[in-house]
Point group: C2
């Protein structure tokens, strides 16, 4: 908190007038910076991509990002894991962004004709998070492993 | 560090005589407690299980554990994510335990006749980690999602 106030050039008193607790500050930071992070993983809505390609796009970006300097995985996962408390305000924000990703997968899985698009979407989300964690743990490129795993799940679900 | 010394009933001086840095202490804690955690996810070596069942066993335990009180996901993932530094001594310990899980998957995937057992093992490890993260973020049961995802990957890899 001290370092944060110093960097921001505000007094602790001012900081606590803006944010009732440190937890609220973390949650608000995620809420403000989240959309820009999400945007980088989604294709333009008018991109000429099939539903299957729209799903793969997300994993291709993750594979690409992994191992690059300054990549620290998924900030939503990282924050939720650090709090280790589903009731933490920041965990709620993290879940909301994660649900957005799952809904994106479900929408396109449904269009692509998956038998259980919601189930597939949860599976794909877990692969995304597991791949992000792997990249953080190793600090090296995923070497396409995220996309390959998504491909396997899409194949198993009969999505062409 | 203060709370740790208080709980352990030792002086800071003694603590730093045992562990040169706080990082070393975290790494050592993971090294000491890791094996017992791993053991809970593996079947007995003389259990009458097929290679495929041995792989599924790990995910069934994770599904079971998720949502139970005191379950905080995978301590290796959590520690590595918190350090956000692959060069941290605790991250190295975390990776070693994770590699043990991947090797277990690879061994049984190979016996089960998977075309690319090492690749499949990495995919299964990512699913394990992603499922563990999901359970931590939500604080609820995975409701079988980890095992279902493993089943889909095993099917895609032609493992019966």
């Amino acid at each position: 908190m001290e370092r944060l106030c110093q960097t921001a050039g505000v007094s602790k008193r001012s900081m606590y007038q803006l944010f009732a607790t440190k937890d609220d500050l973390v949650a608000e930071s995620l809420r403000v910076h989240g959309p820009a992070i999400v945007t980088g993983y989604f294709p333009a809505s008018d991109a000429e991509l099939s539903p299957r390609e729209r799903i793969r796009y997300v994993f291709e970006r993750l594979d690409e990002q992994s191992g690059t300097p300054g990549f620290y995985g998924c900030p939503f996962v990282n924050t939720a894991v650090e709090t280790r408390d589903p009731d933490h305000p920041a965990a709620a924000v993290a879940r909301a962004f994660k649900d957005q990703l799952t809904a994106y997968f479900a929408t396109h899985a449904k269009t692509a004709g998956a038998g259980d698009p919601e189930g597939l979407a949860v599976q794909l989300t877990m692969v995304f998070d597991g791949a992000a964690v792997r990249a953080v743990m190793r600090g090296t490129t995923l070497d396409g492993a995220a996309t390959r795993t998504a491909d396997a799940l899409l194949a198993a679900a009969g999505v062409q």
